[in-house]
Amino acid sequence: MTALLPRRGLAQILALIVILAVDRVVSPQFFDLRLQDGRLFGSLIDVLNRGTPVALLSLGMVLVIATRGIDLSVGAVMAISGAIAASLADTHGLPVVLAAALGAGLICGLWNGFLVAVLGMQPIVATLILMVAGRGIAQLITEGRIVTFSSPDLVWLGNGAVLGLPVPIAIAIGMLILTAAVVRGSALGLLIEATGGNARASELAGVGTRAMILAVYVWCGVCAALAGVIAAADIMGADANNAGLWLELDAILAVVIGGTSLFGGRFSLILAVLGALIIQTMNTGILLSGYPPEFNLLVKAVVVLAVLLLQSPKFSGIAAMIARLRGTKA
């Protein structure tokens, strides 16, 4: 079984350390932590807390990408589950609210999985359908308004604390452990990597590739729904227009930064989450530095470019050649 943190994670950890160091320079109190009302506060906690939705999305996305797929609909699924949770929060108990919201995510995942695995549609097109339609569905649920709620249970989910940690962070850690246990504790991880690496060969080896693909889209939908509930709980309301908007791109970026190739195959759950944290650390750093937030987009673009260059075999070929030339000259 592949170790949770393979050696190839070194680049990501170094990147995170560098960005943290930069953040420390622009904001000297960056590493300060204080405990208040049984909850930790500080920039680091903010990074983790804000990073939770994308981290959750990336947990599902990394499995989808490992099968050589992609899920563009996760932002829209967040909006749907947030809208459902907000609409039910003041009239139903938390278990019902959660079951309804996560159930919606599961159905969305089944739909995507059905289109890709059974009908054989290209993942990018198949999930584009729900990306567009999902936001419409969310708007129908909220009837075009911003639905607010005051249910203390749901508010706690977004703003409470467990053992000093904000609840969203605890949930994200729990989901990482759960996903890792299911994927690496069963044969799922190997079979997903085989399916993504070579679907034809895996099929001929007796792997149920369709079931694998269906399963990863379902899990991706559930993760997105959970992220949607947390995002709604955080602001005590559901805004169908803006909840989860463009977050699918951050999730894909997190997975790519985490070293999982868009061509499928090998994946790492923990590095995908680390990728989400890298993105959030950059976001927070730019906000703290006082640069306009628009700057954020540019920096992200540069990081994507750098990561993709490092992954490209042609680029590493050129880099190796330059290194050789230097070596012979010296």
Binding site: S186, A187, L188, E193, E203, A205, G206
Partner: protein, 514 residues
């Protein structure tokens, strides 16, 4: 076709062409001569080097050594486009034009008649129509190319190539998806072009068509030139011998004698098993401890038989039985569940998962068979991998190496290990020795015999007839997607297999049923 006593001057001359991909020598000092105005068939089994030769001549791949002369002048095109400009045009089986553009736009792609920077649509249509009329085609040239039959698309591609002043026209399996009438039309066009002095290279595995249209035949095998003959004076059996045989020492079955000593139990049987448009219904019995060889030319239905037997393709008639009990084989999963294993011919696309390790590739089928909830622990995986790496002598012996980095022979062994780990009752091997160096080749054959002695049932496809003769207890001969003859015991030798492959269709059908 040639009436003059002097042979026509050679138009395209290839001398000493070599090309390797990594350690695999795809072409070794191949010579090829095409005369102006002749139709020259280029023949060989899969992996013989036909497409590599075409691609090197047309500049798709760079060559390692050798020269190419066109009309006496040396040429070295660096791309298919440069080859086209030099006068060498290729039309591939899958027509490489743009189906969503109109026929006229396809014909004049890249060179539309223009005035003031605007394409003159009317002029282009008029010229397209005139051009196709030359080829006996009267169609609406403004309709999308994709709306026409493959035959029309082929003719369009040929017309475009000829209009680009091609002197050499290479047709790669042009008749594969044409019906009889369309083939006639295409052949008419080919003869007409040859009369105009164009040299045509015809790649096909339909031997009837080859004899019908070709003046001369060049045969390649394993990347080497076997010979160049006049079609009219080359008996069909001799041609097949050139394509399949090696030196063809009269090898007889080493297993034949032993085979008759004890009756063997039937492992799996297939009764009137077939699929319409895929392979004609066949009867096949596979017994424990027995190797059944499938022999035939490319496209004769060998792989099709293998895929039906394993369950990779669904039969639409007939009954399969495993150990006497009727079973349904709807998918590879069914095959695996019943204890079948299948090493496909295309190792890279259908066999290995290149980026996963040797260990992961070996345990894949076993894990899939056990199901998700019963994962093999890392210890069990390591043990299985170590056992088979040792048993099959897989090199390098590091089970954690990505399998894509191994040589072809070792990849083949990893695939064998994958199935052996599932303790199968039947193994289907499609060209297990293709693209493997000589040492590994002998080793794989030894393995096949060893497995058989352990009581496994084997169904083995190979284009190497002497190889099939060496290890088979029975040989099923296929032609035109049907099983035509079954040889057993003493009757197995290269000569009788060749005769069965080459025999005239009608008479063999009689013999086969008699």
């Amino acid at each position: 076709m040639e009436n003059s006593p002097d042979p026509a001057p050679s138009l395209l001359e290839v001398r000493g062409l070599s090309k390797s991909f990594g350690a695999v020598r795809a072409l070794q000092e191949v010579d090829f001569t095409l005369r102006a105005g002749e139709i020259h068939a280029l023949l060989g089994e899969n992996g013989a080097g036909k497409s590599t030769l075409i691609k090197v001549v047309t500049g798709v791949f760079p060559r390692d050594a050798g020269i190419v002369r066109l009309g006496g002048e040396e040429v070295a095109p660096r791309s298919a486009k440069a080859a086209l400009q030099a006068g060498i045009a290729t039309v591939y089986q899958e027509v490489n034009l743009l189906p969503n553009l109109s026929v006229a736009q396809n014909l004049f792609l890249d060179r539309q008649p223009m005035r003031f920077g605007i394409v003159r649509e009317g002029e282009m249509r008029r010229r397209a129509k005139a051009l196709l009329a030359d080829f006996g085609l009267d169609i609406d040239v403004s309709a999308p190319l994709g709306s026409y039959s493959v035959a029309v698309q082929h003719v369009t591609a040929i017309a475009r190539a000829v209009d680009l002043s091609a002197r050499v026209l290479i047709l790669d399996e042009p008749t594969a998806s044409l019906d009889r009438h369309e083939v006639e039309i295409l052949f008419g066009i080919m003869r007409q072009l040859a009369k105009r002095g164009i040299g045509i290279v015809f790649v096909s595995h339909f031997l009837d068509q080859v004899y019908e249209i070709s003046d001369r035949i060049t045969v390649l095998r394993n990347g080497r030139l076997v010979g160049e003959r006049e079609a009219a004076s080359l008996p069909r059996i001799e041609l097949i011998r050139m394509m399949l045989g090696r030196e063809l020492a009269e090898t007889t079955s080493a297993r034949a004698a032993a085979g008759e000593q004890m009756p063997r139990e039937i492992c799996a049987s297939f009764e009137n098993y077939g699929k319409a448009g895929y392979i004609a219904p066949f009867n096949l019995e596979l017994r424990h401890g027995e190797v059944v060889g499938l022999a035939g030319l490319l496209g004769s239905g060998r792989t099709e038989t293998a895929r039906l037997v394993f369950g990779a393709e669904r039969a639409d008639r007939g009954q399969a039985r495993v150990e006497g009990a009727p079973v349904r084989l709807q998918s590879p999963r069914d095959g695996v569940r019943h204890g079948f294993g299948y090493c496909p011919e295309e190792r890279k696309t259908d066999g290995i998962v290149a980026e996963l390790t040797v260990r992961e590739n070996i345990v894949l089928a076993l894990q899939a068979k056990r199901g998700l909830h019963r994962p093999l622990s890392r210890r069990e995986q390591d043990e299985i991998a170590r056992r088979y790496v040792k048993m099959l002598d897989i090199r390098p012996s590091d089970p954690e190496r990505p399998v894509g980095l191994l040589s072809g022979g070792n990849q083949q062994k990893v695939l064998l290990a994958r199935w052996l780990a599932t303790s199968p009752r039947l193994l289907v091997l499609d060209e297990p020795t293709r693209g493997i160096d000589v040492g590994a080749h002998a080793e794989i054959i030894r393995l096949i015999r060893g497995l058989c002695d352990d009581g496994l049932a084997l169904l083995v496809i190979s284009s190497e007839l002497d190889e099939i003769v060496t290890y088979s207890d029975r040989v099923v001969v296929l032609r035109d997607r049907a099983h035509v003859e079954e040889l057993a015991g003493e009757a197995i030798d290269v000569g009788s297999i060749l005769t069965a492959i080459a025999a005239d269709g009608a008479s063999i059908a009689h013999e086969g049923r008699a």
